[in-house]
């Protein structure tokens, strides 16, 4: 099985935000809300992240035929979803093992 690199917080949340079609501003807003203000994505960071995710095939442009002036919206792809859940598995594994530390403290 391929060894995947862990996702940064920014990438994790961008993928999550793109479970539904969104444009940049919407992503920044949602991520800020979901993290209670902990993660405020910089526009430069987001631009780079979207470019990279698109290159990897984890997100794609969600086109709408009507208004050409409408801002670009992105949406997660199947591959992106797989990568997201693989990351969740990794995080779950770590969290599940974390109880050991608490047991150590309790003694």
């Amino acid at each position: 099985m391929e060894r995947m690199q862990p996702l940064t917080d920014a990438l994790f949340y961008v993928l999550l935000a793109l479970r539904q079609p969104k444009h940049g501003y919407g992503i920044i807003q949602e991520v800020q809300e979901l993290t209670n203000g902990r993660l405020v994505l910089g526009a430069g960071t987001l631009y780079g992240a979207l470019k990279m995710l698109e290159e990897r095939g984890w997100i794609s442009l969600y086109s709408q035929q009507n208004d050409s002036r409408k801002k670009k919206e992105y949406l997660i792809t199947e591959e992106g979803r797989r990568a997201f859940f693989a990351e969740c598995d990794r995080l779950t594994e770590m969290l599940n093992n974390s109880h050991l530390m608490r047991e150590e403290e309790a003694e």
């Binding site: 940064t8 917080d9 920014a10 444009h23 940049g24 501003y25 920044i28 902990r38 993660l39 405020v40 994505l41 910089g42 526009a43 430069g44 960071t45 987001l46 631009y47 780079g48 992240a49 801002k71």
Partner: protein, 178 residues
């Protein structure tokens, strides 16, 4: 009639230039234009803007895409474009203005700047040799130009190394900066 202020300064270090622009903005002076070291400021009563400086992609289309993205998604104003750099600003009451919110993208920005300075220093040294030949062969007084280019080239190298150091410092940090 808006009050104006003119300053003459030379900056190669983007962080220092940003810091200065924001210090001026704190005092109510917002940079409107700049060219060849001449900065023109406009006055406002309170701290209106936050300034940031960024590197633009080389490719013309990508450059346009990036600037459009910043304008539309980030609510960011483009103040001045020059060569590869762009001076941006955002109204302070629209929130904190940070272009790069994590270490990874900050490192990339420093890497880009490092590369640009290496290229610029290469150009300086190339022209230094080019202009040194007639100076040596014909008129020794002409040596002043290659000397100037040599100094400029060294300054560029220094800036490249500065950016490389800043990047490496970020790599040593255990946690990401948000």
């Amino acid at each position: 009639m808006k009050e104006k202020l003119v300053r003459w300064k030379f900056y190669f270090d983007k962080d220092k230039e940003e810091q200065w622009l924001n210090e001026m903005a704190d005092k109510g002076w917002n940079m409107k234009k700049n060219c060849l070291g001449i900065y023109i400021f406009e006055h406002s009563d309170k701290r209106q803007y936050t300034y940031r400086i960024d590197i633009l992609p080389e490719d013309e289309q990508e450059k346009e895409e990036y600037l459009t993205f910043l304008k539309e998604e980030g609510d960011i104003e483009i103040v001045q474009q020059r060569l590869f750099w762009v001076v941006l600003r955002k109204l302070s009451d629209k929130g904190v203005f940070e272009l790069y919110s994590d270490a990874e993208s900050k490192k990339q920005q420093y890497r880009k700047m490092e590369q640009i300075f290496y290229v610029l220093s290469g150009v300086c040294f190339f022209f230094m040799f080019f202009t040194a030949i007639p100076a040596v062969k014909k008129d020794h007084a002409l040596i002043i130009l290659p000397m100037f280019l040599a100094v400029l080239g060294v300054i560029m190298l220094k800036q490249a190394r500065k950016n490389s150091q800043k990047r490496k410092k970020l790599e040593q940090c255990a946690a990401d900066l948000f």
